[in-house]
Assembly symmetry: C2
Homo-oligomer: 140 residues x 2
């Protein structure tokens, strides 16, 4: 499935690759303002839209979206989960899963137009990575 798969440099540069879930790589953005995951399906580069995925791929990606949305609500205590496939700037198919809170700095606006970046403190970064690995290591 991931033969020849290359993660886009822009997606990779601001995030940490935590591992695989289903057919997706799971990246944690280094943005302490909001817990923010990117799911990157390991599919050929010409597949730039969710609806270009095959039935089996679409089902697998939808399942991963659901699993990490649930994680965002329960492990990250998100009040609202924002899920999006945009890709206007980076065409490699990727899905954003962002945990939002009415106290967060961009609320109720969307994170994609919020310019300020804040890297995680090491301890918090490690804590979240561990919580993600519970999901990734626990897949059936």
């Amino acid at each position: 499935m991931n033969d020849g798969f290359l993660l886009n440099e822009r997606l990779a540069s601001g995030s940490t690759d935590i591992g695989c879930h289903g057919i997706c790589r799971v990246l944690l953005k280094n943005q302490a303002h909001f817990p923010w995951l990117l799911l990157v399906p390991m599919v050929p580069p010409e597949i730039t839209e969710l609806h270009h995925l095959s039935d089996a791929q679409y089902t697998a990606v939808s399942d991963s979206i659901r699993v990490f949305s649930h994680w965002m609500e329960h492990a990250m205590h998100a009040e609202k989960v924002n899920v999006a496939a945009i890709g206007n700037q980076v065409r490699q198919l990727h899905i954003h899963i962002v945990g939002r809170n009415s106290q967060d700095i961009a609320w109720p606006g969307v994170v994609w137009s919020f310019p300020e970046k804040m890297p995680y403190a090491d301890v918090e970064h490690e804590r979240i990575k561990k919580l993600l690995r519970v999901v990734i290591d626990g897949q059936g």
Copy 2:
């Protein structure tokens, strides 16, 4: 399924309700800058997140997302389809499907932070509604 379902006033006010697809109402936003649909699953109001849907509901909504994303690419000639469940301001679960083009006024930014509204001319509005009805009337 839609017993007691009430469409949120803010969702209804800026859009036209075209009909039903699967378990979703299909709304066309009156925003001529970008073809923009809202899919509103007819589920109880406490279900505010995609991952709160039951397996059957999630599958039905995922299928509708795929169908209208395909429509956006082929009937609306979108270069890129933006799909998102946000809901920070209106909690009734709704999914945005937006057709984007590198010539559009907000490109490559996201539509949710673009403030300018432009209503459709009547002829164009009718044309798009007809194209949507082809999909809605054609469901199995």
